[in-house]
Symmetry: C2
Subunit: 726 residues, 2 copies
């Protein structure tokens, strides 16, 4: 018995529901495309009134098809889709591609219709692709349900939320040699089958060498992270996520009706799962093809081999702009280069052959061999005019150049080191480039695309080295540590939030909730004043605004107690006041913020940044999806621009970064254990050489919990309602 | 009498010195290229032994040529170049292109040879192009001294410091329709003729529609700024400056021997002069062509017209990434769009036709017309599949699409609004695109290049609006305010630096230099202690290190005086101590830094940033070339990332930014008046709501001045030595 997803993506029997005798109709063209595209399975046209279409006998209903149907292409109007799916009740239909628009992407009425078809499909065990999709193609099998006839065959699996973008990618690939697709899935509205459900199919390396995703919004971002995490070690995934800008988001909304999340969060969590994310659509195809065809790099050290100082310098700049390194070469490498190059050449990286190849391009191969052999080199970028020597100088050079290309490819393969070629003659399409491309070497006119390819190979290789450190992105709820019933207005008081943190042995500054002036005075003495004092009320969220905070209290803590309570009462006469929180004053250290938020697409994510203006003005923060591994937490601290401050740049000493790692992991545990948490804000956390302390904490619960606590529903219901990101 | 530069760039008589009968030699090929490329002037081969070459009679020396020579191409070995130039003594040779390498780019010996040829050339009134150049081409006149035969004719003037990069640009342009060159100058080592000297020629709009510069280093960056400033209002200039990264710089050095400056400074001063600078070489040709062919934009508001939500969203993201806006459309525009588009379309910007053009691409023209008419729209980006409807659907659509293209071009021209087309079918080269390109509309497959074009048009247009605010970048030295003889070790003491600032009425915190403990006590009282006290010694630069600073002194200023002097003596027993500087303590306000430095390429530049970590860790600073206009100074303050802090983000009020503008302009005046100044550092300057105060100041003089003051040379000599950037 074949798996459902295999039957959908490698269909042997296809029903075309809404088949037509009219050659201008989609229901006719689809059949024509299947017949002419070499599809060897069985095609069943379905139409209540026709008898034969394009030589095939027609079934009047899908239910009349005499064998199990792997995939039904449904091209009927949206109103008719439910009845077609109803007709699948008593037969075996694995999947149905619903082309029609006017569902969830259009508003309330469409959403209702979408709910309907999902319901019927599930009842009848039919998985849906779409609706609002251009279709699905298995290129190698000729199972083309789109009608696009220009899809070059190759090794890329494409999951795409825009039909026109798919056409653009097909056209772009067709203009390159050796770049093509194994599959195309227009995932559409993800009403039933969602992005992540296609990934396991491709994790099998025979299906595709890389998965290309154009995403407007993920219906279940958390599941995508989890599946991607498992797929990536086998098959690289490249994502272009649109809606990065506010305007783009607006447009993405009106397009598929899915919610585009924050670009910073998406970039961070994709990277965490090993997904390569490109922020410019121009790079999507090139980067995907490089990952599909070239070995990943262990590290980011690139040797540049250029014919001319101009190209050498520009290549070095372009690599540096993407944080790739241009390492020193070994002395032996330089000696080998010196042997074959003229005196004017530069044999340090970037290597400039300085005319040394003008008469004899085979020198390129000698140089490349030396570079591939250098242990400092993880990848090679050949930049300039290679492939154009026969055009630029004399025809005699072409065979020499071709032989050099063959040699270079062999050296690269022998050392398992990736090679990318940037050539000004790419548009002239010389045979030299064909030799390179037939050996899977990317060749681009664009320096930027060439460097983007190397950058992705470095990112992918780095991920493969560290991927063992994490089990999964699944949220396995632990023992709950928060009782939503205790929260008022969905917010825990600072006191309650700190009690929760205590359960995780988090380094909270000592605190005591006092209820009388005398207790305050005693606590101040015990804490060895100066102390900080704050009125605690479930009804007052903005304590400073209420003038209910006193810092640096050295004496008369009893009077201060009374002032604070009085101020709180003045601010809100109805406010319940639990008492005053007393803590010793802390000032030494660097203020950092550790927080968490529930992302609409990816669920709980943890945030780290330096306090004050660093967050507010520079937005210098790092995100990761919970659960965090320790290495996730370390990478967050390393990632922020202000990181040098934590290392003691301004004359101070380095703060205890491992203690910060622990706090980040605690917040991660807290949000995983308690799906009801919407936001955590530990601000400030004071980080010093000898440890860190959490000075203030707030925990906000999700709206669901607020509603339910207000109406006094049981805690269990609250928890099960709140966990919409599990 | 024609101008020398006109004779060089539009030569009527060309001498080829080193002409050869051997067809494989450059001295033969050059003549062949001139003959076959349609050059209608006179060519004189020069060779001591041949009689005729390619049918032309040969002169045995350049001095034997019977008429004035506009341009001599010198292809002899480097050692022979001086004697060829000697032979120009008694004849009229306007310019000579020296191809040979091995001059200033190679080291001391080469530099000497370069000095020699400059000397001889100047004596004989010959201007030099190169050496170390691939040559020079006037494309329209067939005056091709390079031998490259693939140079498409067009309207771009190319000044280039890499021959291979020029070949790459020629090849790239040849693959596009309608993009080409009027001139190519390989500026080489700039030994004599420098980058800026070619600009005035192109300022005449008939010569070229845009100037394209590939720069590794500018021999005289200041002169380039000045000439660019005057050229840009007539003819836009685009610069790609390599050597941005540390590695790139290294490589640029070994290539042309010129010193690549700091990328941040270069970007800032280019922009100040109205030069469009591209940081990726991929963009150089596209951006130049857009500026040459499309009208500049008054502002940065772009209407997107896309056939598909995917392209609409990606285009919006790409525009946002370059700070271009996607404005609301007028209600009337939306109504017009609604009339011609289906219900599923989005008529707010970005406009998504949502299939409304599939059957009838003329709808594109209707939509475009509405967008061009909208007063909120400064430019239009058409993105998606336009030009491919005949390919994608049926051939019948091609004539409709072509008519639409013609209409769109007409609407664009009528409203003087730029249009850029991004199309997935660019590589298929449909006639629709030819129509667009023939009307100068850029068409690219790359979304990024398309957006780069619009971004450059916005930047150029914005500059044209503000260009009147500055007269020039010339450094007109005013009255000198610094006497280098007073500086020790090239540094002014804080006291002396503040005295200099006083001459400009700069807002320095009150200060007094006291020489006795009693004076210190009195001063502290007069300044209404607390005060800051610092020992002043020309021999102690690092006062804090010497423990010679006391802050917040409230009492016993006499004792503090003695402590500071003692500490200074302990630190350096030989140090001369001028006394102690007393100032009232200031703490209210935001710390900013105002500085200046003498850039190796561009001369004096002024810097602004927030103090402390903002400069040290985030490197969040703005540069401009002095002299600053007030609007330059304002733009520096607006440019830094931390700018919101000056507006009172954190609950404070906005600081007095006009007072900051004055301080920036003062520093600008100071460095322009005193070419001997190498660095100015006002740090901190405290900026508050009611004004700013300079708390500390240091002024460093150039090495030349240090040497000369040490040897007690006269002040006049010092000044004339120091002003190497005038």
């Amino acid at each position: 018995m074949r798996k459902t997803i295999d039957r959908i993506l490698e269909p042997e029997t296809i029903a075309v529901v809404g088949a037509s005798t009219d050659p201008s109709k989609r229901g006719h063209q689809a059949i024509k495309t299947l017949q002419e595209g070499g599809f060897e399975g069985t095609v069943y046209p379905v139409n209540p009134s026709a008898e034969t279409i394009r030589g095939l006998s027609v079934c009047s209903s899908i239910s009349e098809i005499p064998e199990p149907v792997d995939l039904a292409l449904i091209v009927v109007p949206k109103q008719v889709v439910p009845s077609v799916l109803e007709e699948c009740r008593d037969i075996d239909v694995a999947g149905a591609v619903v082309i029609a628009v006017g569902f969830g992407e259009t508003g309330d009425e469409g959403e209702e219709l979408e709910e309907d078809i999902i319901h019927i499909a599930r009842q009848n065990n039919v998985r849906l692709v779409g609706p609002n999709t251009s279709g699905l193609i298995n290129v190698h099998e000729g199972a083309n349900l789109v009608g696009a006839d220009n899809v070059p065959a190759g090794e890329l699996g494409l999951l795409c939320q825009s039909g026109n973008l798919a056409i653009a990618l097909f056209t772009e690939a067709a203009a390159l040699e050796g770049v093509g697709f194994s599959h195309y899935v227009g995932v559409g509205n993800e009403a039933d089958l969602q992005f992540h459900e296609y990934l396991p199919y491709f994790a099998d390396n025979d299906k595709a060498d890389a998965i290309v995703c154009y995403v407007e919004g993920l219906a279940d971002g958390r599941a995508f992270l989890q599946e991607a995490h498992e797929t990536v070690p086998e098959t690289p995934i490249v994502v272009c996520k649109s809606g990065r800008s506010a305007v783009g988001k607006q447009s993405a909304n009106s397009h598929t009706g899915s919610l585009a999340g924050d670009a910073a969060v998406a970039d961070a969590v994709f990277s965490q799962a090993g997904v390569i994310s490109v922020d410019r659509s121009d790079e999507l195809l090139a980067v995907s093809d490089a990952l599909a065809s070239q070995p990943p790099m262990d590290d980011a050290n690139i040797a540049i081999l250029a014919d001319g100082g101009g190209h050498a310098t520009l290549a070095a700049d372009a690599l540096a702009a993407r944080d790739l390194s241009v390492p020193e070469l070994e002395a032996g490498t330089k000696d080998r280069l010196r042997e074959v190059l003229p005196d004017a050449a530069s044999v340090r990286n970037p290597v400039d052959v300085a005319g040394g190849t003008d008469d004899d391009p085979s020198v390129f191969a000698d140089c490349a061999e030396a570079l591939f052999d250098d242990p400092n080199v993880d990848g090679v970028l050949l930049s300039g005019l290679f492939g154009g020597y026969g055009i630029r100088f004399t025809d005699d050079l072409e065979p020499i150049e071709k032989a050099a290309a063959r040699d270079i490819v062999t050296f690269a393969e022998d050392t398992d080191t990736p090679l990318v070629v940037q050539s000004a003659y790419e548009s002239a399409d010389p045979e030299v480039h064909t030799i390179l491309r037939e050996s899977d070497v990317p060749v681009y006119e664009s320096l930027d695309l060439s460097v983007a390819c190397l950058s992705a190979l470095a990112e992918y290789g780095t991920h493969l080295k560290t991927t063992d450190e994490r089990d999964s992105f699944n949220l396995e709820e632990g023992e709950r540590t928060i009782d939503p019933a205790e929260a008022t207005n969905g917010t825990l008081t600072e006191y309650d939030a700190k009690k929760v943190l205590d359960q995780y042995d988090a380094p909270v500054t000592p605190y005591e909730l006092v209820e009388t002036p005398m207790e305050a005075k005693r606590a101040a003495v015990e804490f060895d004043a100066p102390v900080a004092m704050k009125a605690v009320s479930p009804d007052i969220v903005h304590k400073t605004e209420a003038d209910a905070v006193a810092l640096e209290v050295t004496e008369d803590a009893d009077d201060v107690f009374q002032d604070l309570v009085e101020n709180a009462r003045t601010y809100d006469p109805q406010a319940r006041i639990d008492g005053v929180l007393v803590s010793p004053m802390r000032t030494d250290g660097i203020e950092v913020i550790v927080g968490a938020t529930s992302d609409e697409q990816f669920g709980p994510v943890v945030m780290f940044g330096l306090g004050g203006v660093f967050v507010e003005v520079f937005e210098d923060v790092a995100f990761r999806a919970a659960p965090l591994s320790k290495s996730d937490a370390r990478s967050m601290i390393e990632e922020i621009d202000a990181q040098p401050l934590l290392n003691g740049t301004r004359g101070g000493s380095s703060v205890d970064q491992e203690a910060l790692v622990d706090v980040l992991c605690t917040v991660s545990d807290l949000v995983v254990d308690n799906p009801v948490v919407e936001e955590v804000d530990l601000n400030p956390v004071l980080a010093a050489e000898d440890g860190v302390e959490i000075l203030d904490a707030s925990i906000l619960l999700s709206n669901e919990s607020q509603t339910t606590t207000h109406t006094m529903e049981s805690e269990n219901e609250v928890i099960s309602d709140g966990g919409d990101n599990e």
